[in-house]
Symmetry: C2
Amino acid sequence: MTPNPRPRLVVIGGGFAGLWAVRALAREAVDIVLIDRCNHHQFQPLLYQVATAGLSAPAIAAPLRHILRRQRNVTVLMGEVATIDRAAKVVRLADGSVERYDQLLLATGATHAYFGHDEWAEHAPGLKTLDDAMQIRARLLGAFERAERTDDPAERAACLTFAIVGAGPTGVELAGTLAEIARHTLRSEFRRIDPTQARVLLIEAGPRVLPAFEPYLSERAREQLVQLGVDVRLGAPVERIDSEGVVIGGQRIAARTVLWAAGVAASPLGAGLGVPLDRAGRVPVAPDLSVPGAPEIFVAGDLAAVIQDGQPVPGTAPAAKQMGRHVAANLRALWRGQATRPFRFQDVGALATIGRMAAVVRMGPLRLTGLPAWWLWLAAHVYFLIGFRNRLSVLLDWAWAYWTYARSSRIIFGPGGAGSEGR
Amino acid sequence: MTPNPRPRLVVIGGGFAGLWAVRALAREAVDIVLIDRCNHHQFQPLLYQVATAGLSAPAIAAPLRHILRRQRNVTVLMGEVATIDRAAKVVRLADGSVERYDQLLLATGATHAYFGHDEWAEHAPGLKTLDDAMQIRARLLGAFERAERTDDPAERAACLTFAIVGAGPTGVELAGTLAEIARHTLRSEFRRIDPTQARVLLIEAGPRVLPAFEPYLSERAREQLVQLGVDVRLGAPVERIDSEGVVIGGQRIAARTVLWAAGVAASPLGAGLGVPLDRAGRVPVAPDLSVPGAPEIFVAGDLAAVIQDGQPVPGTAPAAKQMGRHVAANLRALWRGQATRPFRFQDVGALATIGRMAAVVRMGPLRLTGLPAWWLWLAAHVYFLIGFRNRLSVLLDWAWAYWTYARSSRIIFGPGGAGSEGR
């Protein structure tokens, strides 16, 4: 038997890290197998727009095999990885099929974590996937529906109270957008309730919103949230979440809708590598992003714990793309018998949107808030999304929504939709 | 106590019949409550496009309360009707709330029926709601994914075999579109299978496809299906459907994906009226569309059994809209103390699409097939959909799909998506 001269690379995860690594290897003589649980790559930064009915799911997602249809060295498999067998160098899928690898890239990202309170999960869904977004959409819209239907004032008030736990970018986006929906989108559509009376609470254990920004930008963000009608509670760790609502500072807040944007934990697949993980379950990688003691295995994206200048590299899309491309470069080096290089994160800045015409931006020496920041945020996201989707219709949806406050995707699916629970 | 001078009308069902009745009463001094299980009205004629990933769900649906936001005499409730109490003149919802009525319009339509074989339902989903469309989409796309993953040739062949039961308009649309997806859309996107080898079977118990058209148009439709690559089996009643496929004529066909487009039955709410129903569960209405013996209750749309000139009025969108508007006119007459009038269906013709650039049309003395019929079908549907959605983006999606064969909504959701079953 002659060995296959083309190395075989298995990539698990088609998010920004995995997909960018695969694309960077388009011209290599290598057989790549890309495995993902979903059939699609999603544009994560706009997931909150799907959850809040501003965009349809297909507007921010595309099938991985469609994205990669012209890259003939890639086979895309939709499947669940059961185990990674480092000794045999194979990945086993849940349906029994087996993929052999010479090199492996693990880029399965992160999921939400409830700080040891897994019982909170059913009452407070988090937002990581399109399925999550659909569930949140059904709960948000379903709460207004239930409020319109009920005769009980206490129940009505609970239906019109929305608690968002965690004031990072996702929590801030959800709170700001939800306030906009209640105040504008739904304004004249109900007869028995006044949607503008809805309460939106943003609950944060730490001392400020958007802690990744400088304190004065956090303060500006808080002011913009308050202006949009959000009740921001800082220094308020959540003590309990149940079907009735949340408890903070010993005080119970009756809320039929609680959303979780507080904690993330790395994907459980990292544990399958058999190396020590950090507290959040991430894999502390070597400087070249390989797994210590396993030079044929790389980790990129949110699953990788990278410390740079004493700071962790953030779990953002730009960081994931940079890691993915860097792993591709190191794989090329490996295949050519050259030395791999250490990864260095280039921080291009940070953008966070708060709501209609409100955002904060840190970009090099530049700091923006309010309308200019929002325009920059919009331009950046349209640029990246259009590059990815190549479709004008998303832009049209947005332009339409901007002028009319309408949200084009207010369709409730599935069990969250109908039924007496209304959730 | 003085009686409320404004009559109270409860409408159950926000499809074409219910919504058109409500809209025709916009200027009346009446309190209308419109109850639907879903929060949206859907443009039923294009549901197959959502199921086959050509359009996103929000493209063909809009929230009922958004459609009716300016009609101040309507309250929209999303909820499940549990019972109709004719003696007390109230409608009870599943969550316990109660709506009193002076007049009632029942327009809850039809659902799919399995001719007494309810055990077929889990293996062969039908297409009536957006949730159905999402499930079918996940199965269709999931079957190709599973074929790519498996090493077993028999399993692969079963994954690439699609059986559609019933050659009415929905079955024909699904078969034609599925053939197009296999031959064009997915053509270059797989590495281990050749999607163009997929078999699409259209199975019909009767002697011809599209029996609502003249025999020679049915024959032209069959020819067009064959040209698109569909294996049309006429005079072939289905004997069995299970997880392995279908049995026709004693022959087992291994098919991982079976879709049901054969039978419909009226919504079960008709039985709650306590009047005799026809064999399909429809309500045989009086000539004015009221329920015999209950002049305050009307039935419209697919739930109403109307015989005209010895023929049943078809269960189509134009018929439902005409009935809805007619009930509105008769309600106005009632409220003014005038006599109600008998309903008469105006047959404007019929259109059925078969696939890319293939359709059949019957319109007055006009008969079209092939490309001219397809253009007329497209124009009619764009006209009605745009009137309903008022959005250019659907048109853009279509134009894009036409030139590229791309389908913009190939996103698999939920449990049908991942997992070892791949269905």
